[in-house]
Structure formats: structure tokens, C-alpha cells
Amino acid sequence: MRILVIEDETKVGCFIKRALEEESYAVDLCEDGAKGLEMALATNYDSIIVDLMLPSLSGLDIVKGVRRERIQTPILILTAQSQVDQRVKGLDAGADDYLTKPFAIDELLARVRALLRRGATDSPGILQIDDLVLNPATREVTRGGQRIELTLKEYALLEYLMRHTGRVLTRPMISEHVWNQDFDTFTNVIDVYVNYLRNKVDRGRTKKLIHTIRGSGYMLKAD
């Protein structure tokens, strides 16, 4: 899951980015409004977190700009103002949720999870395919009741695959949603990580869940 954070207060932006990264999300941080909108339009993010008070372009204008391009990415607005009208304006412009500064990290993460859930069509909090279960809230993965330990990137990759079960996911799609903008797409890192996942999820099982679609990419399905 790849998230864009647009926040001009450097320190605030940095800790949000770190908190999200520790939850295995891929995060791009931008401190300028106009540039943030450009990034939001150029990349297919899974969620956008935007501060309302920004230099050059306000958060409200970013929300409007994104929605004008018919991009339905869930947007969370951060506001320092406790005034109701600012939040109302933000929500009316097309934002999905808001958070008032100062906020608790746990709440931010919970709201992001909720937004991502909303992005995928009506999926419940817990993702499941066959006997493979992934809980985004606890980031616990089990197969047949057995716990599987994953690294951050492996988890992120599995979550992305599970949210798009039964669909062919190309390498560019995977890199766009699991890695951030610093990722070099010309390496075979994706294949390496898919192999790691296979070892942990499918090895020793009769039923394989991760499938390679030759010439295209990968797919998660229970036949």
C-alpha cells in the first residue's frame, strides 16, 4: 500500500512517514502544495494524507484538484484548526476523513487502515483467501491457523496481493503500490520478494496460492 503525505511542517511530515513505514506502507513525502498535487495526479496512490495549510496550494485545493481528475483515492485531511467549517469544507471538497492536530499516532494509523479498507470494495477488516488470513490491524498472518512471520516488505507485498485476489498484478503495479518513489524499477527486487513470500506461504503446502502469470506478473488465487 503506497501513501502520499503532503505536509509542510518537516518534522510532522517525517514522523508520519516513519510511523507509516513501520507499518509496512510505502510512503512519499512532499512539503509543497503544488508539487503534492502533481504527485497525487501522476501516481496511483492507495491513500493520500494532506495538511490543509500549505504553501503555494492549500490542502483544500489539492483535494479539489484530485477529485476533479476523477481520482477516487481515499484522502485524509490533517487540520490544525479546530474550527468546524474548515473540516466541513475539506469533507465537502471530497476528502474522506479528517484528523485534528495534535493527533495520536494510533488513531492516524487506524484511520489510514479504515480508508484503505474503503478503497477496496467493501472488504472486511480481515483479509482471507482459502486458509490464508491477514489482519491489517495487528499485521498478523496465519495459514491453517499457523502463524507466519514476515518482514515489513514481505507483509506489504502480501497485503497488496490479498487486496487484489484473483487479478493479475503486473510488476509496475506492484512496484507502484508496495515501494515508494525512490524504488528502482529496473531491478528484480519484486521477483526476489515474491520468492521470499512463496517460501513462507506456499512451501510444503499442497495448495499453492501465489501463481506466476508468465509474461505479465503475479496473481493470488485459490484456484
Partner: protein, 467 residues
Amino acid sequence: MPLRLRLSLWYGSALALILVAFSTVLYFVTARSLRDALDQSLEETAAAAVRSLEERGFLPLIDEDELMSQFPELARIDKFFQIFSPSGTITIRSPNVKQHELPLSRRALEVAFSGKTIFESAKYPKEPPLRLISVPIIYQGNLLYIVQVGTSMESVDQTLNRLLLVLLVTMPLALAVSLAGGWFLAGRALRPVDAITLAAQRIAAGDLTQRLNVPASADEIGRLAGTFNNMIARLETSFRQIRQFSSDASHELRTPLTVMKGETELALRRPREAADYTVVLESNLEEIDRMTRIVDELLFLSRADMGEVKMERLPVKLESLLEDIHRQASLLGQESNVQVILGLVMPAIVLGDELRLRELFLNLVDNAVKYSRPGGTVEISLTTHLNQAKLVITDQGIGISPEDQKRIFDRFYRTDDARAHTKKGTGLGLAICAWIVESHHGRIEVQSGPNKGSTFTVTLPLATSPS
């Protein structure tokens, strides 16, 4: 009691009083003049009778017919005629009193003996009241006759009664009509007051955008509404400023709080290296310093607003103050590779508070250094002109757009460029500068354009006696 009712009642009572007084006077004056006219006509008739008797040498009158031919006016039914002997018995009388006995009153007889004329009113049962004149005829000191002429007062009484009736009917009618008119006029005059009250209620309920419809007239109500509107406009402005200020203040204070809360929570989510904690604590310390500075400056400004900040009024040598500041600013400039130079510095002495002036100049020079680009130059100069000291600080930094220039002295106002350029500012420095300049009766101005650098000019009045 509503003003409208009170006004109407006052007006009505006054009017009723005037009407009653007027009617009373009218009634009595009319009664008096009618009676006087009657008396005069009686007197004239009596005088004519006396004259005619005189011509006849006061011979006793015997024949009624002769009497009537002598005094044709007696044939008129409205007057009658009697002649009494000095004993009070009737010797002759006009035919129109025949059916009644009208004896001479005792008092009339007494007055007749003293040779005087008397008017009397008399009332007999079943008859209209009468008015009588009794004239004695005296010949060589002896009372010969008493001539009495009388008339009915019926017409006078009727006239008076009619007048009374007219007054009693028209007076309450006039009072009622004018009361209704007064009620209507008072309502009309007071309607704008009601409108003002309604608007004031809406405004009191919190809607400061409301205004009164000011009547075009320059009367009392128009002036009241105008004054009221001015007051609301000022209230609205100051409310908006306060709201803006508290929203800005809370934003400026929330940002460091957000950083501290976020970083601390993040650090506590899992065990970390000692170095990570150090980074968080150092960052938090920075934020605490920032908040302390904001709170200190806010406190200073609010004390300044309350007039609680003491200001010295002592001679201050600006040129030596500037040299000090130049030394400090040069050190600041070295860190960011900005050169601070002293231009033309003329000696100047102003009356003021040296500490505050130092704060003012240091703030301005510090700003100039902060918003300069590496390699830039900041120039400070001091000149005097007439009785003014002019201090100019010029930088070649990021500059300020014309629309921002109007607001940079506002509390918490920071331009986007300033925010992007340095995170350290509190947004209160220039507000404090403006206050210091103002309390020294000076002026502060800025000339700038985006990327054209900025020039801040402070003008202060020179001390009048350079000692």
C-alpha cells in the same frame, strides 16, 4: 409601560386639559356677553321709556293703549313693561304680562329710593327665567315712578345650553380623534426604534453581519441607527480580528505540540536504540523552546495591549546602539554566510527605552539576515532629517509580495515564503517591532517585491534638546 402608550397618554391628558379650559372659558365668556347684550338692550328700552315719560312731564300714565302707541317696541313679545308707584304697586303694565303677577322686589324698591338703577334676575314657577331692569324716575328729589322693563332669558339660556351640548359632544370626539392620531404618529415615529431593537437582538444573538436599514433622514433616529451601525462594524472587525488571532495562535501552538506528541508516541511504540531516543528528545527540546518563545512574545504583546509594559523615556544614542547591533548581527551573518555592513551612520539621540529599541533593531536585522540568501548583503544606515532619525535596513533576500506587505505586521502573520524559508519564526517579531516603534511615536515602513529584497525603514522623532 410602552413608550408609545406613555407618549399617547401624556399627549391626551395635555390635550384634554387644554380642551376643558378652553371650553370653560368659551362658555362663560359667551354667557357673560349674551347677558351683557340683554342688559344693554333692557337699559336702552328703559332709557327710551324714561325719556318719553320725561317729555310728558312725568304725568301719570293711565291708558294702556296710549302706552303701547308711545312704545311700539313693547308690542314685541320678548319685552314687557311695568311702571310702579313709589309704594311698589303697579300703576300700569304692558299687556304681555297681564296673566302674571310680577311684583317689584323689596331690594329693587330700596335701590330705587336711593335713585339708582338695578338689574335683577327672577325666576317664577313654570316660567323661563326673567331679566329685569328697574329705573327710578326722580323729580325734584322725589321718587315719582319706578319704570321696570323685563325680558325672558329663555333664548340666552337656550343658546348657552346648545353651546354646552356642542362642547360636551365635540370635545370628547376631538380628544378621541387626536388621541388616535397621536397613537398612530407615535407608532410611526417609534417604528425605526422597534427595527433597531429587532436588529440589536439578532446581533446580540451573534450575527454581527447584520446592519440596520438607516433611514435617509438626518434626524435623531437616523443618527442613532448610523451610530449603531458604526458600532456594529467596529465590533465585527474586532471580533474577526480576535477570532483570526486565536485561530492563528492555536495553530502556532498546535504545530509544536503535534511534533512532540507524534515523535514521542512513535518512539514509544517499540523498543529503540538509545540514539533514537536522543534524537526525539533533542527535537522535542527544540519544540519546547519554540513554544516558550511564542508564549513569551504573546505574553509581552498582551501586556503591551493592556498598557502594562513600562517604557523608559531616556536619551538613547542610536549610533552607538547600532554599532553594538552590527557586531551581533555580523556574528549571526557569518553562520549563514551573509555579510552585514554599516552604511552612513549619523549621530542621533532619541528619547526612549534602550532595551526595547535594541530589541527592535536586532529583530529587524535578524530578519534581514534570516531571509537573505547565502552570499547576500545586509546594510544598516542611520540618517537624520529635520527632527527625525531614519534607520534603514536593506537586504537582498526573498522579498515580500505587495499583498503580504500590508499584513506582515499582523500578529502570527507569516508569508508562505517565510514559512518555507525558515521554520524558526513565531510570526510575532514584526508585530512586536511595530508596537515598539508606535510607543516611541515613530513609523515603520517596508518596501519590497518578491525576490527583490526588502527595505525596512524606521523613523523616530529626535530628542528636542540634544544634550
